[in-house]
C-alpha cells in the first residue's frame, strides 16, 4: 500500500531498507546516523522485518561483518557517519575488491579534529577512492528512493560494487519531510532477490580475500575500475527504470541540471545545499541573470562526461565544496577541474559549510556575485 508519511531522512532510509529485505544487519550507532539502526531495530523487534541484527562492538566490526555476511551470500545493510566511517576505512576497500554489493547509509558529519557532530562531507569524501559508489541525496524522498535503487545498482552483475547512500547529517537525517512509502509488491518487482554467484559453502570450498602478489593485484584493481565505469551506465539505466515505475526523477541519476539550458554562470553543489541553491537561482533568474546549478549526485563514479556536456555555454563555474582537501582546495572542485581539463571554463572553488556552518542563501548569492564579477573563489565562511 502506498502511503505518504512525514518522516525524517534517516527514517526514510530505514523504511526503504525494510522494503529491500536484508537478512543480517551489523549496525553500530553513531550520531547523526543512529536513527537509522534505531528504526530498523524497531522493525525487527515488531516483526515488520525478518532479519537478524548483529550487535557489533565497533564500526570496524560492522564493516568486517558486512564482508562476512556478503561472503555467505545474503543481502545486508549498515549505517554510519564521521569517525565511524573513518574506523571502517581499513575494511572498505576489502569489501569493494571482493566485489560485494553492500549498501551503507552515511549521514555525513564532519570528521573530528576538533570534535564536531554537524554536517559536512569530509567523512565520505575522504573515502571516495575506496571503490565504493557514492550517491548523495537532497531530500528525504530521494534518500528513500536512492536506497532502493542502490541495491539494484550494486547487485547488477557487471557492477558488483558496494554503494554508499549519503545524506547530510542533521540537515537531512533529522529533518522531517513528507515521503511516499512505496508498496512492497511494487518494490519486489523492481528489486529482485539477491542471487550471488559464489558463496561460502562447505560443500564447495572457496577462498575469499586471498593475497594478491604484484603479478595479480594490479589486474584486480583494473577490474574494479572497469566495473566503476560500468556503474555510471547502470546508475542511469536503473534510475530510468525507477522513474518509469515510480514516477520520480533525480536528473539522470548521476547529475541534476537546474536552469542550465542557457546558464552562463553556474554553481556545482552536492547534497542538501542544492535546495538552497535552487531558491537562489530562482531569485537571480527574476533579475534576468543567466545562472544555474549542477548537482552532483554520483561522486563516484564521477560523471565527467555529463558535466562537460552540461557546461557548453557556461563561462564561469563555482564549486561549493563541503570538504577541504587541506593544502589543495576541495575534493569536489579538484575533480571538477580535472574533468574540465582543456576546456575554456573558469572554475572557482568555494569551501563552505564545514562542521555544520550554515550555507545560507546570502552565502550562495555571494558566491554567484563572485563568479559573475570574475573574482576569485574563497572559503565561504
Amino acid at each position: 500500500m502506498v502511503e505518504i508519511k512525514v518522516i525524517s531522512g534517516a527514517d526514510a532510509i530505514a523504511q526503504a531498507v525494510k522494503l529491500c529485505k536484508p537478512k543480517v544487519l551489523p549496525m553500530y550507532p553513531i550520531t547523526p546516523s543512529t536513527l537509522i539502526p534505531e528504526r530498523i531495530s524497531e522493525f525487527v523487534n515488531n516483526g515488520e522485518l525478518n532479519a537478524e541484527i548483529i550487535y557489533v562492538e565497533s564500526e570496524h566490526s560492522a564493516a568486517s561483518a558486512l564482508f562476512g555476511i556478503y561472503a555467505t551470500g545474503v543481502r545486508s545493510f549498515t549505517a554510519t557517519a564521521s569517525q565511524g566511517l573513518a574506523i571502517m576505512h581499513e575494511i572498505l576497500p576489502i569489501i569493494s575488491a571482493s566485489r560485494f554489493p553492500a549498501v551503507m547509509a552515511v549521514a555525513n558529519r564532519a570528521l573530528s579534529g576538533p570534535l564536531n557532530i554537524w554536517n559536512d562531507h569530509s567523512d565520505a569524501m575522504s573515502e571516495r577512492d575506496q571503490g565504493w559508489i557514492q550517491l548523495y541525496c537532497e531530500t528525504a524522498q530521494e534518500a528513500f528512493d536512492t536506497t532502493i535503487m542502490a541495491y539494484k545498482i550494486a547487485e547488477t552483475e557487471k557492477v558488483s560494487l558496494p554503494l554508499m547512500v549519503c545524506i547530510d547529517g542533521f540537515s537531512l537525517s533529522h529533518v522531517y519531510e513528507p515521503v511516499q512509502i512505496e508498496d512492497a509488491i511494487k518494490v519486489d518487482a523492481f528489486l529482485p532477490e539477491y542471487k550471488p554467484v559464489v558463496v561460502l559453502d562447505p560443500k564447495r570450498p572457496v577462498t575469499f580475500g586471498p593475497v594478491a602478489f604484484p603479478n595479480t593485484y594490479f589486474e584486480f584493481k583494473e577490474a574494479e575500475e572497469k566495473a566503476m565505469l560500468e556503474a555510471a551506465k547502470v546508475i542511469e539505466q536503473v534510475h530510468a527504470e525507477f522513474a518509469k515505475k515510480f514516477g520520480r526523477t533525480y536528473g539522470n541519476g548521476l547529475v541534476e541540471l537546474i536552469e542550465m539550458k542557457d546558464a552562463e554562470y553556474a554553481l556545482i553543489t552536492v547534497g542538501g545545499t542544492t535546495g538552497t541553491a535552487r531558491e537562489v537561482v530562482t531569485e537571480l533568474r527574476k533579475k534576468k541573470k543567466k545562472v544555474g546549478v549542477i548537482r552532483i549526485k554520483s561522486m563516484r563514479p564521477f560523471p565527467a562526461e555529463q558535466l562537460r556536456a552540461a557546461l557548453k555555454k557556461v563561462k564561469t563555474l563555482g564549486v561549493i565544496d563541503r570538504h577541504a582537501s587541506l593544502g589543495f582546495g576541495g575534493a569536489l572542485s579538484n575533480d571538477v577541474k580535472s574533468a574540465l581539463q582543456g576546456q575554456k571554463i573558469i572554475v572557482e572553488e568555494f569551501v563552505a559549510g564545514l562542521g555544520g556552518r550554515d550555507i545560507s542563501k546570502s552565502r550562495l548569492h555571494d558566491a554567484f556575485e563572485t563568479i559573475i564579477k570574475g573574482k576569485k573563489g574563497y572559503w565561504l565562511k
Partner: protein, 121 residues
C-alpha cells in the same frame, strides 16, 4: 661458508622483467596462480600447496647427509615444516620448494652439517 651460486643465464631470458603477457621463460614461470576472478575468489580448495614459497629464499641451506646424526633439531626448529625425515635411513632433508632460507636449522645443528649458499636471482 657462504658461496655465491648465480642462476645460469638462459638464452631465452628477455628484458621484460617477468610480465605475464610476455611469452619468455621467466614470464611463464611467474604466471599468477590466482586467475583474475571476480572479487579475487579462489574457486579451487587447497590451492596454497601449489604456491612454492621457496621462491622467496635468499639463502639456500642443504643438509650434508654424510655428517647428519639424526638428532632432529633442524626438524624441530624449522618454522615452515620444510624439513622431513627420510624413511630409508632416518636422516633429515630440506624440501626446497618451501624452505624460505631462514637458516635456523643451520644455526641450531649441533654438528654444523647444514652449509648454505646465497642464491642470486
Amino acid at each position: 661458508m657462504v658461496k655465491k651460486e648465480g642462476r645460469k643465464k638462459n638464452s631465452k631470458e628477455c628484458s621484460c622483467g617477468g610480465t605475464k603477457e610476455c611469452a619468455c621463460e621467466s614470464s611463464q614461470k611467474s604466471k599468477p596462480l590466482i586467475s583474475i576472478t571476480k572479487g579475487a575468489v579462489i574457486l579451487e580448495p587447497g590451492s596454497t600447496k601449489k604456491y612454492k614459497t621457496g621462491e622467496w629464499r635468499t639463502f639456500k641451506p642443504t643438509i650434508d647427509l654424510a655428517r647428519c646424526i639424526k638428532c632432529g633439531r633442524c626438524w624441530m626448529v624449522c618454522p615452515d615444516a620444510a624439513i622431513n625425515q627420510r624413511k630409508e635411513d632416518g636422516k633429515f632433508e630440506i624440501n626446497h620448494d618451501y624452505c624460505k632460507g631462514c637458516l635456523l636449522c643451520a644455526k641450531e645443528c649441533p654438528v654444523k652439517c647444514i652449509p648454505y649458499v646465497v642464491e642470486e636471482k
